[in-house]
Structures are given as structure tokens and as C-alpha cells.
Symmetry: C2
Subunit: 419 residues, 2 copies
């Protein structure tokens, strides 16, 4: 509820509508919908193109067939970055989404390690979906006909009381989608307590998996790194090491789609999945893996590289959050100011998100459609909007977020006034 008198609201509305009209006149064409790195960020990795493979540089010839699980060098690098061992890693090609899809697909068709039968042969099954979340995750589970249950996010991660209750009592719940660090879209890093509660889950299902999409494991924006407790290690302590699949990639470190992605899992899970993967494919692009390894060599160099990304991203996040901070102080929105990742997630007053997006679009500013951050594209509160600040230049972002602020005020005040 907005804490203004009716007269104040009317004055705000008048001013906002005047501003809005002036933006409409400018015939803007701005896009804040796409979580893509900017050209300047991509330029940071151009030296990758200079790296030539030479067969004398590796024990076996990486130009030829073989090594389904990825070359040891890149698995070692991911192991260092993610706090596991190389034999807990399968490293593949550029898109971690394909590994996630593959993991769900194999579970549907062939089951998971330790499970009694394939997910697809168990009638109605379900996934928990912390919301707001990543639309591509939800698209996978929706495609497989897996029922999705919304779980609210808190400042510490998903509502763990709800997760624990549902997972421990309902054997048809087979998984949960998580983006545990700088979450998409809220930018929240799960607290140590949350991660430990995840690791200690006692699922009713014998084939439950946590899909831990560690997409932003090294993607801080403000020069310090949120600590995310290592879930695989916690799961081991809790006797649950087979319960988690962790995913990561270099898509937003080097080049989207042309990087290296990986899955981290227990050795049992690795063996189980590799056996099926050996039927699915010959193996990854080892030359691209080698080039990535040769370019970075150490985890420390990856972090140094990410600091350069952060330098480019910080003024963009600032441009957006400066305005959002004002809007929040004025009571029009709530939001978490992210310390990393690729998105900013805003909650407008309930029932206004679609109207805000509509107003923005009519003024030439494109945002991700309202609802996109929820399963079935259905935000029951019509409140959440995802902003992607990475791609446009700062001056465009400043203009886009100004339009957004005015649109929020118009929609919120009209609603408060019953207009």
C-alpha cells in the first residue's frame, strides 16, 4: 500500500503522466529484456582466438576421437573453481542448458542412479520451482509434463520450511530448480543455512535431485564475492552425495555458446550418466576445452578475468539500481540490490506488472514480458519484472529505467486511486 494522501497521489500521477508523454514523443527504441553480455565484455576474451593447439602439448591427441567426459585439464580447472575433484566433473560443450535438459531427459527415460524406475514411468511427477526463477528451467520441466510447484524466494534463498515439508512427504516430487548464487532474477545468494538444509533433505522419493544451476559462481559485479557454501561437500557430510547435480559454464566468462560447460556430481552419478552419454554422443569439442584451459590455466586467472567483466557491468547495474533505490524509498517497489549475476528483479504493487510493461512498451522500451519468471509464465501476483542491464550502454539504461520508473508510478497510483 502506498503511504500517500489522495492529493499526493494525484499530484504524483499528473507529474508522471506528463513525463511519460514527453518520453513517448522521443520515439525511444530501448531494450532491457536480454541477459546477454555486451560487446565490450566479449572483447575481453578475444585473445582466446590466438591460442593454437599443438598435439605435442597433450598426452593424447585432442584433435581425434575420445574422452567423453572432457579433457582432464579443463575438468581440473572447473574442479578448482567449484571446490570439487576432477572426477566429479563431466565437461562438455558450450551450453549448460543442454546438460540440464539431458539430465532431466535421462531421468525421465532411464531414471537416476539409485532410483527404482524412470521418472517417466511414475505417473504424475513434480518439481519445486523457487519463484521468481529462470524461464528456461521452467520450460524444460513444462515440456516434459512435470507439474511445477511455486516456492517463494526469501532473502536467504527458497522458503526451506516449505521445501523440507514438501520434499519429505511427497514422493512424486523429483527435483527442484535452484540458481544458488546471484539468483536469476533476484540476485540473491543462498545463505549457508539454506545450503545446509538443502544438503540435509530427506526426500520421500528415492530418485530426487537438486538441480543446482551455479550459473554465476564467479560473476560478482561489486568487487567482492558472495560466499556460497559448497553443496556437494555438504551433501557428502549429510550422506546425501548423490542428491545434487551442479551445473556451470563459461558462457558469461568467455563466449556464450562457444565456451565450455560442465556438470558436477558424485562419482556414482558420473558413472551412471556417462554410461548413457556414451550412447548419446562421441564427446565434446576437446580443442575448445583445451583452448579455454590454456587461456586461463588457474582459477585465480578466471577471477581476475571476471573482475574485468565487473568493471564493465558495475556502472550499468548502478544506472539501474540508483533509480530503483529511489523508487523503493518512495514505496513504489520492493527489490533486492544484487551484488552479482545478470539481472535485477523488481516487485511492483500486486496486479500492476503487466500494466507497467505495457506502458513501457508503448513508450518504446522493451522489458521481459511480465510472468516470464514464473512457471507456466503465470505470476499469480502480477508483480515481478526482470530487468537485464548487461547489454545496453549506460545512457540507454538511464533513459530506459527512467521510463520504467514513470510507468511504475502511473500504474501504482492509478491502482491505489481505483482508476
Amino acid at each position: 500500500m502506498l503511504n500517500y494522501t489522495t492529493d499526493e497521489l494525484k499530484a504524483i500521477l499528473n507529474q508522471a503522466e506528463a513525463e511519460y508523454a514527453s518520453y513517448v514523443k522521443q520515439e525511444l527504441k530501448l531494450d532491457m529484456s536480454r541477459g546477454k553480455p555486451s560487446s565490450a565484455q566479449l572483447d575481453l576474451s578475444n585473445d582466446l582466438f590466438d591460442i593454437k593447439y599443438d598435439k605435442t602439448k597433450s598426452k593424447v591427441d585432442y584433435r581425434n576421437y575420445g574422452i567423453l567426459e572432457g579433457i582432464p585439464e579443463i575438468r581440473g580447472l572447473f574442479a578448482d573453481l567449484l571446490g570439487v575433484t576432477a572426477d566429479e566433473i563431466i565437461a562438455l560443450d558450450g551450453t549448460s542448458l543442454a546438460i540440464m535438459y539431458g539430465s532431466v531427459q535421462r531421468a525421465m527415460q532411464f531414471g537416476v542412479y539409485g532410483g527404482s524406475k524412470p521418472w517417466g514411468e511414475q505417473g504424475k511427477i513434480k518439481f519445486l520451482c523457487p519463484v521468481p526463477g529462470y524461464d528456461r528451467h521452467f520450460a524444460i520441466t513444462e515440456k516434459f509434463g512435470i507439474e511445477m510447484i511455486n516456492v517463494p524466494m526469501t532473502m536467504y534463498g527458497p522458503d526451506m520450511d516449505m521445501v523440507e515439508k514438501l520434499v519429505s512427504t511427497d514422493a512424486s516430487i523429483k527435483g527442484i530448480w535452484c540458481v544458488p548464487k546471484y539468483s536469476n532474477p533476484d540476485g540473491i545468494t543462498y545463505s549457508p543455512q539454506t545450503v545446509k538444509r538443502f544438503a540435509s533433505l530427506r526426500p520421500a522419493a528415492d530418485d530426487f535431485r537438486i538441480f543446482w544451476d551455479n550459473a554465476y559462481f564467479a560473476h560478482e559485479v561489486y568487487g567482492y564475492n558472495d560466499e556460497l557454501v559448497n553443496i556437494l561437500q555438504e551433501c557428502k557430510k549429510a550422506g546425501n552425495e548423490d542428491m545434487v547435480y551442479m551445473f556451470a559454464s563459461t558462457s558469461k566468462i568467455t563466449f556464450p555458446g562457444a565456451g565450455v560447460s560442465c556438470v558436477v556430481m558424485s562419482k556414482n552419478n558420473v558413472a551412471f550418466n556417462k554410461k548413457i552419454m556414451g550412447i548419446e554422443m562421441i564427446g565434446p569439442n576437446k580443442l575448445n576445452q583445451w583452448r579455454h584451459y590454456e587461456y586461463f590455466k588457474t582459477a585465480d586467472n578466471v577471477y581476475k578475468h571476471m573482475a574485468k567483466h565487473a568493471e564493465i557491468l558495475k556502472p550499468k547495474f548502478d544506472a539501474v539500481t540508483n533509480t530503483l533505490d529511489e523508487l523503493k524509498a518512495q514505496g513504489f517497489i520492493s527489490y533486492n540490490k544484487p551484488r552479482g549475476g545478470y539481472f535485477v528483479s523488481v516487485f511492483t504493487p500486486k496486479g500492476t506488472a503487466k500494466e507497467v510493461i505495457r506502458l513501457c512498451n508503448e513508450a518504446g522500451v522493451v522489458f521481459t514480458p511480465a510472468g516470464s519468471t514464473y512457471p507456466y509464465k503465470n505470476d499469480p501476483d502480477d508483480s515481478n519484472i526482470r530487468l537485464a542491464p548487461s547489454l545496453p550502454p549506460v545512457d540507454e539504461l538511464e533513459k530506459a529505467i527512467a521510463v520504467f520508473a514513470v510507468a511504475v508510478k502511473i500504474a501504482a497510483v492509478k491502482q491505489a486511486l481505483g482508476m
Copy 2:
């Protein structure tokens, strides 16, 4: 049946056993089991490493997200090579096997364009498998529980009378695996008549697909190119354009696993599959695709490149086929002398293939296990053996094939003598 007198057979056996004993003494370590290019072949493409991407070279920045179906340049190149249009092609990463697996997996889970329901929801389903064939194909269908029916290969391709009869009467038959050019392992190119009969099939099933693995479309060894009639064009003429999926890759043109692979299909099939693929993945490695395009630019340059491969492969194929020709003339084996591809397939007298392989292994020469070229690894005649001449140097091949010849004689004569 061997056309020798008993005394002649005994003499052959004595000599063969003496020779065999001398090979055993040499403690050989030779491997003819692996259809891998040699280091010299891989060196042919080393200049690929010199090609740097520069964002000014393409309309959109290939370093960033987007273009699920692959970049237009590489799709255009494949289109020229395969006699189709670029919009009939989806170009992905290095391994065409992954596209084949994906095509079966999508059909199992979600059906195919024009089909009434997913393959996986139709009870027992079947695939036709021309034999001998490619073990990796059979592994995919076996994994999905699809029953495999052997169809004998002839010099003109699969027995089309049998294919037509089965496909037109049994709606549970959903597909057939084909390697239509320089077939794996026989090296047979399907005749124009065979291709046309394929294109004119009238399947009982509304969701039947031909899996046309055009793995060796430009892989001649003897300097002239077997003509393979274009099945997609023939299917169009027969009103059957949605019935075929064609697969190809640069694995044996540039680098296995680090090349570009593609699927060719009707526009309806492209649209159907792309819709699901958009959920499966972000997209292929466009930079690798671009590098491949930039390296070749034209189909003609690909053919010139393949002629260099052939120069390296020809003496290797000769080393093997010279001995096999003798063995064939002596009545010990039958085989097709391939004009391209990666394999030579030998038929020893029925019931002797396992024994031949065993003798070779004991003399330190490894061949692909007998049975590998049949579904369920079961060669009902115990007769077929696949030889892979590409990897070892010529002197090793000469020695390996000499051991093979002696082993064939021993096994065949012993069988003929009832020993």
C-alpha cells in the same frame, strides 16, 4: 564351402599354423579396431587454428547468444555439399551422433511431425537395421528398448523387397538406420534404384522416419566419387518429404568431435524439431562453425581437402585389400572392396568370425569384436568382421592383415575338416 581337397586343406593348415606361430613369436601389438583418422590426416586441417573471428565479419556478433539453427554461412556450405537449401539444415556442434540420438529421443518423448503420438507411448516399436551396420546406431535404438530387425545388405543397399514389405505392413516399425554412401562397414553405396525405392516407401506408420546417416558423403578413397541420389529431393517427388532425416558432419573432414555436424530435413521437420531444441539448448558453437566456413568457403574446397585425405588413406586401404583380394580369390572370404568411407567388411565362413578374432588377438592383433556390426552384438552367422585401416601406418597394416589372413585360413580349414 572351400573348394579344396582334404589333402590340400591339410597342407594349407600346416603352412598357416607355421606362419601363425612365427607371428606369435614376434609379440606384435597392432590395432585395426578403430575408425579414427590418422595424425597425418588431422594435420591437413591444422590451418583451422589460424582463423580468428572478428565481429566485423558477420552481420550479427557470433560471439554472443542466438541462432539456434546454426550460422547461415555453414548451413549454406552444407546445403551446397548435400544438394539441399540452407533452410532445410540445422547445423550444430561436432558430433552428428548426438543429433541422431536427439532425434530418436524427441520422437520417443514428443513424437514426430505429423505423427499422432510419441513413439514411447505406442507399446512395442521397431527399427529396421541393415546388417552389417554401425554399432553406435544400434546402441541408441537398443537403449530406448526399440526392437531391432535385421535386414540383409546387398551390393545395391538394403534388401528393398524386405524393407518395403515390412514398412508397408507393420505400423510398429518407426524407422530404419542407413549409411547410404560407403556404408559402415561394407563400403557399399546405395544404388539410385534403392534410394528411389526408399523415397517411395508407403509406411503403415504415420510417424516413420528414415535415419540417413550420410557420414561419408565426400569421403572417397580412390579419387572418384560414387554418386548417391539425393534422398530428400526424391522424397519430395514422391510426396514424402517429411519421411527422412539426413545427418552429416565434418568429423572426418577436419577434427572428430571438434567439427560441425548437421541434420537435413524438410521445413516441417525443421520447424517441429527446432521448437523442442529451443528448450533443449541455447545454440551451437557459432565461432567454430564460422571458423569451418571461413576455412572452406566452398563445396569445391571441401572436395579438394578430401582428396588430400584420400591420398593418405589409399595406400592403407590398398595394404588391406591386396591381401583380402588374394584371400577372396582363394575362396576363404567374401567382401566388397570399398571405394570410400572408413571400413572394410569381411565375411569369413559361417561360424568362424569369433575364432578368427580370437586367433588374431592371441597373436597381438586387435580387431573390432565379432558381432559388433549387428544389433544386440549378435551376428547370427558369426561371419562378419569389420576392419579399420585408417589409423595404423602401412607397415603395421600389412603385418596385421597378414596375421588376419593366416587366422582366417586356420579357422576356415579347421571348420572344413571338422576339427
